[in-house]
């Protein structure tokens, strides 16, 4: 079977996505995270954990792990690349552009970088929450400074 007859999943499972799934970036744990959160998608069992080391307003380090489908795991990987070493504000802007692309059919913005590869997910509504899980956990982690750190 040649790819010409498989337009739909070609569009969803783009090479960039598969490549991040096979070789995730920033996967693992941080030694001294300042922030941490975990999230589970109970319907499908996808899991994401995120460690952050914030330097003021800047995401100085990020690491994620977890398990689940290629969409949830590759999104986490791509996201980590796009927001590493950036201010929180930039992460929020990327998130907004990402959600607009998936749920409102917006054209992919330039700030999405590799995340643009997930555009095809918008045609599989039931998978959108897979792509949003990493972002949900990121938001959660930003609200969850480690106890020790807050005593600094």
């Amino acid at each position: 079977m040649v790819s010409a007859t498989e337009p739909l999943f070609d569009d969803l499972y783009r090479e960039t996505l598969l490549e991040h799934y096979r070789s995730p970036r920033n996967r693992g744990r941080l030694e001294a995270p300042t922030h941490h959160a975990e999230g589970l998608n109970p319907v499908c069992g996808d899991e994401i954990r995120i460690d952050l080391r914030m330097d003021g307003d800047r995401i100085a380090e990020i690491a994620f792990d977890g398990q689940g489908c290629s969409i949830s795991q590759s999104t986490a990987s791509m996201m980590s690349v796009e927001i590493l070493d950036r201010p929180v504000e930039h992460a929020m802007a990327v998130q907004q552009a990402f959600e607009a692309m998936l749920t409102a059919g917006a054209e992919p913005s330039a700030i999405l970088g590799d995340l643009e590869a997930l555009q095809g997910v918008s045609k599989f509504p039931v998978r959108i929450k897979c792509a949003l899980l990493a972002w949900k956990v990121l938001a959660e982690s930003l609200k969850s400074p480690n106890k020790e750190e807050t005593h600094d």
Partner: protein, 415 residues
């Protein structure tokens, strides 16, 4: 002669396309499609007979009551029940099991008593007993599952003992396809003085069943998994059990005399059918039972045995594909779960869907079994009377495509 191709003509939905491909519906363990005979019986009911039943004197009500009650006889025929009065209509298998847990369980279990289940149970045959255990102080014990997907019968023999008050077991696993040795377990349960509930959600639609032969005390199943409408379940109970039990739900239709402080109950089975029942869908279920009776359950089983054998053969030949559950088609039904190394079931299901193939991916309401199998989820194809070998071929081809995408053996290797 049984002909899946001929049968397909009765199922309007099988003419639809999904993502521009013909629908290949392989999610029958979740729910089956409905033949036009069932759909037409719903339309006929609502267009000509619709009325509330049991207490009406007018013609519509008399007709509706007759049609509704006649379905009990069809259910009795299907499962070899000696009487219609032992057949209660519920919403689904889940409600049937909960009914037993509340009405029989609350009255018969107490601290220290044990309920024996297995690790291959559907959540609907686990959670009601957890809730009962919490109410009564009873304890749950689980029979484990062997590596080849069978019940560990030695362990069953150890667990079922003088403390056991109830054994509740799935007849055919919705994940592994395993057909459990119900007669043998019934023997153990009864020797221990325990009652035995059989979750027949996956067996009643697919196997000839004879309740008296099985040795079950309770049997539960769902219409929607056997060509019938959603919203109808069956609870059958052995002679005498229902009459001893307290009502489950109170209300209209299940009473005889109502006084301010207490009431007396209607005759069986009405005592367990409070409020306006799902009249139309019970009648529609009657049409489904007629359809199955027309085919004959042995022929249904034979067709599924064949298509399952073919699917096991073809899927089993794919490298990196692992089938969970028995390989002997005499010991299993047509629910075929598999895992592809390194590929998440949700990704498999999405790619199959993009080719019009509907399978189920997830824990299949069997989280304990997923943990026992040490997988987060599986992919499951499950067959019914209208499935063909061509559809199995389409499935196999699509799985190969999934592997190409993920393992990069196609043009995509060049990353």
């Amino acid at each position: 002669m049984f002909s899946a191709t001929k049968i397909r003509e009765d199922f309007p939905i099988l003419r639809r396309t999904v993502h521009d491909r013909p629908l290949v519906y392989l999610d029958n363990a979740a729910t089956t499609q409905k033949p036009r005979q069932v759909i037409e019986s719903l339309v006929r009911y609502y267009e000509t007979n619709n009325a509330n039943i049991h207490r009406g004197i007018h013609t519509l009500s008399v007709e509706a009551t007759e049609q509704y009650e006649a379905v009990r006889g069809k259910v009795a025929l299907l499962i070899g029940a000696p009487s219609n009065d032992s057949i209660v209509f519920t919403r689904n298998t889940t409600e049937s099991i909960n009914l037993v847990a509340r009405s029989w369980g609350d009255a018969n279990l107490s601290e220290g008593d044990e309920i024996v289940l297995s690790l291959m149970e559907h959540h609907s045959n686990i959670v009601p007993w957890q809730l009962l255990a919490r109410r009564t102080g009873a304890r749950l014990r689980y029979i484990e599952v062997t590596a080849d997907g069978h019940l560990d019968l030695d362990m069953a023999r150890q667990l079922i003992g003088p403390r056991t008050k109830l054994v509740s077991l799935v007849h055919m696993s919705n994940v592994l396809g395993t057909i459990n040795p119900i007669g043998e377990i019934a023997g153990m349960a009864h020797a221990a003085g325990a009652r035995f509930l059989v979750d027949a959600a996956q067996s009643a639609p697919h196997l000839p069943i004879d309740v008296t032969g099985l040795g079950a005390d309770f049997l539960a199943f769902s219409a929607h998994k056997m060509l019938g409408p959603t919203g109808v379940g069956v609870l059958w109970a052995a002679d005498g059990l229902l009459s001893e039990m307290e009502p489950f739900l109170g209300g209209g239709e299940m009473i005889s005399l109502v006084r301010q402080d207490e009431s007396t109950w209607a005759d069986l089975p009405h005592k367990f059918e409070a409020g306006t029942p799902n009249i139309a869908d019970v009648i529609g279920f009657g049409a489904a039972l007629d359809y199955l009776a027309g085919l004959g359950m042995p022929a249904v089983r034979e067709h599924e045995r064949n298509i399952t054998a073919y699917a096991l053969d073809r899927l089993g030949a794919l490298p990196g594909l692992n089938i969970h559950g028995p390989s002997d088609v005499d010991q299993r039904g047509g629910a075929v779960s598999f895992s592809l190394e390194g590929i998440h079931p949700h990704d498999i299901s999405t790619i199959l869907d993009s080719r019009g193939i509907a399978i189920r991916a997830g824990h299949h309401c069997a989280q304990l079994l997923m943990r026992a199998l040490d997988v987060p989820a599986t992919s499951r194809a499950s067959f019914y009377i209208y499935n063909t070998e061509d559809e199995v071929d389409a499935l196999v081809e699509a799985v190969e495509a999934v592997q190409r995408v993920f393992n990069g053996v196609s043009h995509r290797t060049a990353v």
